[in-house]
Symmetry: C2
Subunit: 233 residues, 2 copies
């Protein structure tokens, strides 16, 4: 398998890279810094969306890694910042959320359109709470809502993905990451989704097309009493 992890240096991303390497898959990490475990690193440069996209595309061309198509592209880049419209950091945080969620998803879609195999899979990262209004984290909410709608567009015929390729958008609630453990030390961890659940789900989706949800699915991933389930919205 030849796969791309966008956000391959983050908590979930580096877990994915590590897992795929234990399976001897060829892995390309795209992120702001290198993940030494990956076979190839594309380090994103550029001050705006167009520069970043041009940089990622030209790195893929230059390195020659795009000559052979990818089986899967997993976009797990993201971040979190809160604030309502009156918050002093409202615009700054919204700007950051757009960069971390929308820009990365748009570039992933663009890379998928040109370099994903026919019948391959692209995953994007949405968020369950953003199916509704999210007054205490407005920038985060609108960015994830954009990713949800992008998923619907890409799944339509004429969306630009290769023939037979599908897009799946995962909507977890809280992932059990070291940072979340640190900042929410008193939370109920039995409602948090283990990263191993996501890595196994993604592995299955890459290896077995029949395991995927319908094209364009928004896949809610909920954990209750340490049991995780997938539900298509």
């Amino acid at each position: 398998m030849r796969v791309v992890v966008y956000g391959g240096k983050g908590a979930l991303g580096s877990t994915l890279v590590n897992h795929f390497k234990t399976k001897s898959w060829w892995v390309c990490s795209i992120d702001l810094s290198e993940n030494p475990e990956a076979d190839v690193n594309v380090v994103v440069k550029g001050a705006n969306l167009q520069e970043q996209a041009a940089n990622v595309n030209s790195e893929i061309e230059k390195s020659g890694i795009g000559a052979e198509k990818f089986d899967a592209i997993f976009c797990v880049a993201g971040g979190w910042a809160g604030g309502d419209a009156a918050n002093k950091d409202f615009v700054k945080n919204t700007d950051l959320m757009m960069k971390q969620s929308i820009w990365t998803s748009v570039i992933s879609a663009n890379v998928a359109a040109h370099h994903l195999k026919e019948g391959g899979v692209l995953t994007l990262a949405g968020a369950e709470p953003c199916l509704e209004g999210t007054s205490f984290m407005i920038g985060y909410g609108l960015s994830k809502a954009a990713v949800h709608q992008l998923t619907a567009s890409l799944a339509q015929s004429g969306g630009g993905l290769p023939t037979g390729a599908v897009v799946q958008c995962i909507l977890p609630k809280t992932l059990d990451t070291p940072m979340n453990r640190k900042f929410m030390a008193n939370a109920d961890f039995t409602t948090w989704t283990p990263m191993s659940y996501i890595t196994e789900m993604f592995t299955k989706w890459a290896e077995d097309p029949s395991s995927r949800h319908p094209n364009g699915a928004l896949v809610k991933i909920l954990t209750i009493d340490s049991i995780t389930t997938e539900t298509v919205v």
Copy 2:
């Protein structure tokens, strides 16, 4: 009445400014260039969202117009560009759509949080087709979807708007503007919404709070056989 038109130099925006001036309202236009009919112009400067927001906020402070609160803020900025994920202009057009729709809406929300009167009204510009996937205009679709979700967040208690203020997001299909007449000369104009409908609706919403839809409404504006109706999604 003291009102702000964000996008006051565009087709719909200048129609609004003109209409409000016939009613002797005080009008501030925010746009990339001046509208001479407006009482005050804020000309947006800045290469990114944070700079533009800081510029608009500081112009409002400097000019002293923010000392008295606004009755209404109408954000009608926007534009259109198409393309699927494989289109050569996909990233460029998506970038433009985010600037024209998301940035302007976010800055409007920010201005509303600080300068709208209690019980005032903020309108944002959504789009009916973007309630679903929009494969042939992906950047436009995800940007408008972000505006729809922003509306839901702002309407929640704790969204940051002043007490009693409401947000309404209009979802027209095609407005009967000179540019649309030019570029779609053979379309069926009986399905296009006249700009006068929007100006009258906004006038009513500003003057009479009881004429507004529920807070956070996504208001579909559909014209069939030259008859226009409003439906809350």
